[in-house]
Amino acid sequence: MSDTVELNAPKTELSAKEKYYLATPMQLMWQKFKRHKLAIVGSVILIFLYTTAIFANFLTPYSKSERFSKYAYTQPSAIHMIAEDGSLHRPFVYGVTSRRDPETLLKIYTEDTSVIYPIRFFVRGSKYDFLGFIPSDLHLFGVDSPAQIFIFGTDSIGRDLFTRTFHGAQLSLTIGLIGVSLSFLIGITLGGISGYFGGIVDTLIQRFIEILIAIPTIPLWIALSTALPRTWSVTQIYFSIVIILSLVGWVGLARVVRGKFLELRELDYVLAARVSGVSEFTIIRKHLLPNFASYLIVYVTLAIPGVILGETALSFLGLGLRSPAVSWGVLLEKSQNIQSVAIYWWSIIPAIFVILTVLAFNFVGDGLRDAADPYKK
């Protein structure tokens, strides 16, 4: 051909523009996602939280049900580096002694500054099964007896809130994932059927959805949760709560999926595929699904915090997970009383984790939404 080709030919490195045109949609999504600073912050927070949930046994100094009856409602341990005499040490805590205030009858804890208990790393403590099957008693940090370290303070019966918050993450964080997976499964199936087949099936499913939507969410959750027998095991309750929460969640997804199906099946390239004899299943798999996969990812990311908040709210009301199960909602149940919050302010620390998680999911979801449309500048 002409000189034009030769002019361009010697280039071996792809220019930024050529990379843009050659990139797959997923690469483009990632490129855009990377530019969304809050989304990156959110991802880091989520990775951190989920990692700590997995390694909660190791990262915390105690086991989740370990009680220190002498330490009910201790405030968070102060971590010092400078001793009474002004000398510098590695981080340490003091032991505490308690006495009762004669007027309020509340326990008051004071530090006993005579002995220094340095924070030690990789200490032996209560036994646990690492990742559920490797027996271990190694903990990331701890202090020598008789002192104790309660970074977030303790609850009414002297259990370490730090330990329990990190263990609580296991249930609170997974309930979001499992709940949304369940909604996702129901939603995509019913939405897909509705949108793909249309006609009477579509009408029936749509009417059903319209009726479900009209049931107010919170009373429905409350009503269903009260029906859970008190005698059920933690696992049974856990999965029942998941099911209750997803009962509402799938409806929105089903609508999105149906709408997308209806919209996409009319598009020219789907018609083109159908005209060239591609089977319906292949059309769904190769043309329709990839097209709204990004929307689904965004939707799911933004739905997870809803489920987490749902569990927290139910457990907070005493209707969700119950002791001995530990979730953030369970930890917050005692905070229902404003008077106790006013005195034992540290008991709402788990709430910070709830907010952080929800924020992080929203940030990530937002970043994904912006990135989902890869060709939009």
């Binding site: 049931i215 009503a223 907070f316 009301l317 404003i338 709402i348 929800v358 940030f363």
Partner: protein, 330 residues
């Protein structure tokens, strides 16, 4: 248009009937009934309670019949204007609800007003100042508002208000609690309203700001805005006459189902704040299987949702000429 409305009203009636059956069944799901609760209570307090007496109570309220019989009996009574008997309060349901519904309406409507009056101007500001410092602050606060569960916000704000010396919890100061309605009591109520309104409204406001911002940003770049600008229209007038007007359509139309959402979402907050409204009443009714109180108040809530959705659709049809047109065609 009229056939459309009649069609919708018929569907609404069917929906409410199905919903009432569903909720009646859900309320009955827990093992036992109110009488079992009552027996357990007496057992706890050490009083003996004779099985025959329990059966009499069951008989009296028709709790012995099958679910279908119970439902039909209740539904028949409701249609005649009798909402049933509350076991907990040992008074007619209509009285129990009647006492609380006024305050619920006041709180919900004020919350609705608060949400829209705050969210729309902020959303417009945010969209017209995209990526500015103000916009970033609004977006960040919006994110946090969405992330904080309402009951937690209630705790935090109560804590703050308590430390700032305000009276917290409830809707009346003790001295007005039993007082007759008068200017003093109304003023006292006004002083107590902001806290629950802010708490119930925050998440909704945050959400609405985001919707308003996104929808206005969508419209602001559209060709018709440039057309109007090319005519020489003043920028401010241009903004409110065209893109804001169009962006408001879907938002204005959500008012209908925003109200039931506020009522239902307010339940937990009202519990935490200990408000004399329908929320805590419904919660306790569900917890204690106060069958008729729970069914009747849920029926109200369901009707509110269904009617709200209907009004939303009608509102959208009225304010958006595009939709009006297709309805007439179809």
């Amino acid at each position: 248009m009229y056939t459309y409305i009649i069609h919708r009203i018929l569907f609404m009636i069917v929906t409410v009937i199905i919903l009432s059956i569903l909720t009646f069944m859900i309320i009955q799901l827990p093992a036992g009934d109110f009488v079992t609760h009552l027996a357990a209570q007496f057992a706890r307090s050490g009083q003996s309670f004779d099985q025959a007496q329990l059966d009499i109570i069951r008989e009296q309220f028709g709790l012995n019949g099958t679910l279908v019989e119970q439902y039909l009996a209740w539904a028949g009574n409701v249609l005649q204007g009798d909402l049933g008997w509350s076991f907990q309060f040992t008074r007619p349901v209509s009285e129990v609800i009647g006492e609380r519904i006024g305050l619920t309406v006041v709180i919900s409507l004020s919350t609705l007003l608060f949400t829209y009056l705050l969210a729309i101007p902020i959303g417009v500001y945010s969209a017209t100042h995209q990526y500015s410092i103000g916009d970033n602050i609004v977006m960040f606060i919006g994110f946090i508002g969405l992330a904080i569960p309402s009951f937690l916000l209630a705790l935090i704000l109560m804590f703050v208000f308590l430390n700032a010396g305000f009276s917290v919890g409830g809707l009346f100061s003790p001295e007005y609690l039993r007082a007759e309605w008068g200017p003093g009591k109304i003023w006292d109520l006004m002083k107590h309203l902001p806290l629950p309104i802010i708490i119930i409204g925050t998440a909704g406001t945050a959400g609405l700001i985001r919707v308003m911002r996104a929808s206005l940003l969508d419209e602001i770049g559209k060709q018709y805005v440039i057309t109007a600008r090319a005519k020489g229209v003043h920028e401010t007038k241009l903004l409110y006459k065209y893109p804001v007007r169009v962006a408001l359509n879907p938002i204005a139309s959500t008012i209908g189902w925003e109200l039931p959402a506020i009522v239902s979402g307010g339940i937990i907050v009202e519990l935490v704040l200990n408000l004399p409204t329908t929320g805590p009443m419904l919660f306790n009714a569900l917890m204690n299987q106060d069958l008729f109180l729970a069914s009747s108040s849920l029926l109200f809530l369901n009707m509110l949702t269904v009617i709200g959705t209907f009004l939303s659709d009608i509102l959208l049809v009225t304010i958006d000429p595009r939709i009006r047109f297709t309805e007439q065609e179809g």
